[in-house]
């Protein structure tokens, strides 16, 4: 397994070596345009790198895809069209911003559902407790008494 891992790393590495001559500088382009290319690339995943965006990676494929993004932008394509182009070729996997569809409902709505449930649970249990007297704060318990004595200072 280790050997296989090593080989695949080496394989990825050779892919990245092949990049050197293909880099296309973009110095002649305006800062705004670069910004746009960058912001789109920053949401696309580089497939050959372990876990990087194509904006960050220097792998050959990342550079090609960055160039493709800037070419498509120059052709007047919108961000949506560029993303669709990528998804058609590489699947949803390239999108770091997963699209909202039924498979990702739990992903997108889960956190807020959890928050609402937690708040509802707490409020209801508080209301229930309000009806009861302090259950555990026993003045006979020395610790609790001490805590009570400390009370003033504990406002800190």
């Amino acid at each position: 397994m280790t050997k296989k891992f090593f080989l695949s790393t080496a394989w990825l590495f050779f892919l990245s070596l092949s990049s050197i001559s293909n880099a296309q500088p973009s110095s002649d382009l305006s800062a705004d345009f670069q910004e746009k290319v960058k912001s789109i690339s920053a949401e696309l995943r580089c497939l050959v790198c372990q876990n990087q965006t194509i904006a960050d990676s220097n792998a050959s494929l990342a550079i090609d895809l960055r160039n493709q993004v800037s070419r498509m932008l120059r052709q007047g394509k919108s961000e949506q069209e560029i993303k669709r182009y990528m998804v058609e070729r590489y699947g949803d996997f390239v999108l770091y911003d997963p699209p909202v569809k039924w498979q990702t409902w739990a992903l997108w709505f889960g956190p807020f559902l959890l928050l609402v449930l937690a708040i509802a649970f707490l409020v209801s249990s508080q209301l229930k407790r309000r009806a009861e007297p302090d259950s555990d704060f026993n003045p006979a318990n020395r610790e609790d008494l001490r805590a009570l004595l400390r009370g003033d200072k504990d406002q800190l």
Binding site: L12, S18, L47, R89, G91, F93
Partner: protein, 173 residues
């Protein structure tokens, strides 16, 4: 007690998924192109610079498209399998020379042998991009109507050729 079991239940659920996850490969991305027609292209043909290979050239045949390059070391590992496959004459193999050059591709094939019936040369890698190529070598199997049926990223092994590729070829003939 039941509500206090909730954390345990959540953990058990997560553990089941983690267990399944151990036997999955997160690096393996299935191609969305499977089941779709091959992208249109028209590329110069190696050693016959005046003619072209297009997406329609092989309509009506079951064929293998193998993406390779002379700079790609894992391609060398795969090469003997392709030579073997070509010698069996069971399926036509077409090469896509990816981000390479006419001369270097010809030299490489001259040195290691040429398993390809035809080689299309894709110097700037744009056709490769349309095929969603990201890890050379890659191999596609295309049916008679030009629909992609199978894709393998990385070097093919002889078992993959025997157990996956060839049975599929048979069923498509």
């Amino acid at each position: 007690m039941r509500k206090y079991l909730l954390p345990l239940a959540v953990f058990v659920l997560v553990a089941i998924f983690l267990w399944r996850g151990l036997f999955l490969n997160p690096q393996e991305v299935p191609s969305p192109l499977i089941g779709k027609s091959i992208p249109e292209f028209s590329l110069p043909k190696l050693q016959k610079e005046n003619s072209v290979v297009t997406s329609e050239t092989f309509l009506g045949k079951v064929w293998v498209l193998n993406v390779f390059a002379s700079w790609c070391t894992p391609c060398l590992d795969e090469h003997p399998m392709l030579m073997e496959l070509a010698s069996q004459n069971r399926v036509m193999i077409v090469g896509l020379n990816y981000k390479d050059g006419f001369q270097s591709a010809a030299d490489w094939l001259g040195k290691h042998g040429n398993p390809y019936s035809a080689v299309a040369v894709d110097i700037d890698g744009l056709v490769g991009m349309d095929f969603g190529v990201y890890g050379v070598p890659e191999t596609f199997l295309i049916d008679k109507s030009g629909v992609i049926r199978y894709k393998k990223i990385g070097p093919l092994s002889s078992t993959e050729i025997q157990d996956e590729l060839l049975p599929l070829v048979e069923s498509l003939q």
